[in-house]
């Protein structure tokens, strides 16, 4: 080993597998490519299509955010980068196989499910996760066959972050407001028949603690056929919340409160209403065979500024509704062969190094939501991936290995044996072009192909 060139040099390039092709995976790739070392980066994605939540999470009526894809397209052109789509790590390929083939593996596979409410009736038909709905209207192959019954006029969303806002807005918009976006056609057809008129967006804490970004909230004031509404009494603040507002850094809360105040004064002259309610927690979901009503308990806030928690007051109310979406945070899913923190839904780590008990697992790293939990927006993951790559590169001497690391060349025979049709970046570009062409005929930026089989059939 002593005679060998150092890891990350021409004769001994650093071979890294990146698992996941969303923003974190691409920013990890970018940071590795920009390092002074000689690297080879193989990205594995379980779907044929890359870009993770930019493609399957960002709302279809926010096309500008999706322009970050142009940056990922550029990163994908680096000569040291290869894309292997339609490969499921943990099922098609064991993590142990990846570890044998690469010096380092970076898991950037995101948080694929939602946190549970933990209340009775949560699994009644009509009760859904926001993730399912978002993935469905965005044409995610795993969710295209989900059924959402929008025949009742009241819909409830539990949670007050931007995902909750996206779900509420998609329900609040007319089909004409969505028609020329890249929303999946099956979703547009169902939304066209929607009888939802009252949308409740419910938070357990107050208006000052709501996690919406002001820009997302502001959009509710400009909808064609929906008026936002807030009960002015719910905007009365306790002393700790007043103190939170005064903090100079808390700009978003001040702007949000101003918007809520505006909503509380708006004339309800449109056919749909979107009501933001505060200080209420779901206690149970009830219904005969399917969701019919939600029982809520009123809360009050306790504690000092920025550490206030919601405590039930014992005062209950029932809200009739036909559909409910919980949107109280995404939650990660475990992969065989990688330590997992079931309480937080993340891969336990220090500065991106995956930890087993108190020891770093050699060669395993993580970035993005599966690293730190579901917080922040697209760009937050850039800084996060850069930090993980810094840890990885600091470990280079320890990652060097007397056996050469063959990278994908060692993985491809395994996939071939299993009959997996691997999708290259060039293959994806053909699928991409086909989607854009199908969209063009309907004046949409693209019509997503929503089944894996159909994507493969394009090739």
């Amino acid at each position: 080993m002593s005679s060998k060139d150092p890891l990350g040099s021409d004769n001994n390039p650093l071979c890294v597998a990146v698992v996941g092709s969303g923003p974190s995976g691409f920013y990890t790739t970018e940071a590795l490519s920009r390092s002074e070392h000689v690297v080879r980066i193989d990205m594995y994605e379980r779907l044929p299509a890359p870009y993770g939540l930019v493609r399957y999470g960002v709302a279809p009526d926010h096309p500008k955010l999706k322009q970050s894809i142009q940056v990922y397209e550029k990163i994908a052109q680096s000569p040291e980068f290869r894309f292997f789509g339609n490969v499921n790590i943990g099922r098609d390929i064991a993590v142990a196989d990846l570890r044998r083939a690469y010096h380092a593996v970076v898991f950037a596979c995101g948080a694929e499910t939602d946190r549970r409410l933990g209340v009775d009736g949560e699994d009644l038909p009509g009760s859904h996760t926001a993730t399912e709905f978002v993935a469905w209207y965005n044409g995610h192959p795993d969710y295209r066959d989900r059924v959402f019954d929008l025949s009742h006029e009241t819909a409830v969303i539990i949670g007050q972050g931007n995902v909750a806002a996206d779900v509420a807005r998609v329900l609040a918009k007319t089909v004409d407001e969505l028609r020329h976006t890249d929303i999946a056609r099956h979703a547009l057809d169902v939304l066209a028949e929607s009888r939802v008129r009252d949308i409740h967006v419910i938070g357990r804490r107050g208006p000052v603690q709501a996690k919406f970004t002001p820009k997302e909230l502001r959009e509710f004031g400009d909808l064609e056929d929906c008026t936002p509404f807030v009960n002015p009494e719910e905007l009365l603040l306790n002393a700790s919340s007043e103190q939170e507002l005064e903090d100079k850094k808390n700009v978003n809360a001040r702007k949000n409160l101003e918007l809520f105040r505006g909503f509380s004064q708006m004339a309800a002259d449109k056919s749909r209403r979107c009501r933001f309610s505060f200080l209420k927690s779901p206690v149970r979901l009830e219904g005969d065979g399917r969701l019919q009503q939600l029982v809520l308990e009123s809360n009050r806030l306790e504690g000092e500024a920025f550490r206030q928690s919601a405590r039930g007051t014992g005062q209950m109310e029932a809200l009739e509704c036909g559909i409910l979406f919980r949107s109280i945070g995404y939650f990660g899913i475990a992969i065989d062969g990688v330590p997992f923190d079931p309480r937080r839904g993340v891969f336990p780590n220090r500065a991106g190094r995956i930890m087993e008990a108190d020891t770093a697992v050699a060669g395993l790293y993580t970035a993005g939501w599966i690293k730190r939990g579901p917080s922040g927006i697209i760009g937050t993951n850039r800084a996060d991936s850069v930090a993980t790559v810094a840890s990885l590169l600091a470990d280079l001497p320890a990652l060097d290995n007397p056996d050469s690391k063959a990278g994908a060349e060692a993985i491809m025979p395994l996939l071939e044996r299993k009959g997996v049709r691997v999708i290259s970046y060039r293959d994806w570009q053909r699928i991409d072009a086909e989607e854009v062409a199908r969209g063009a005929t309907q004046d949409k930026p693209r019509e997503k192909i929503t089944s894996v089989e159909e994507m493969l059939a394009v090739l």
């Binding site: 500008k64 820009k215 850094k249 937050t380 850039r382």
Partner: protein, 101 residues
């Protein structure tokens, strides 16, 4: 919809914003940063990062800052892109205190 940097950045140039920009739309000169509106995707990630709240978006800005929309659009394309954070300018901390942050 435009996101732009204003004169609060002058003499600070903390560059925390740069680390979270998903599209590398920040450019710099000796005094401050500028956003290229043709590249920016208005994601708002940078707004809360700025220690002196120099960045504004959309229609949500004080009237006396309006000129900075045009200044960003004009200056950014002529200047180099900043891809990772730099050291703040000397005296940045004092300036931050002076601005009341």
């Amino acid at each position: 919809m435009t996101t732009f940097v204003t004169d609060n950045c002058k003499a600070c140039r903390f560059t925390d914003c740069v680390a979270v920009c998903p599209v590398e739309c920040f450019h710099y000169d000796d005094d401050m940063l500028y956003i290229d509106p043709e590249v920016c995707i208005d994601c708002s990630a940078c707004l809360p990062e700025c220690p002196v709240q120099a960045i504004y978006e959309g229609d949500d800005y004080p009237e006396d800052k309006e000129e900075w929309i045009a200044i960003n659009a004009q200056r950014a394309p002529e200047l180099p892109v900043i891809t990772e954070p730099m050291e703040p300018l000397p005296g940045a901390e004092e300036r931050k205190t002076e601005l009341g942050f």
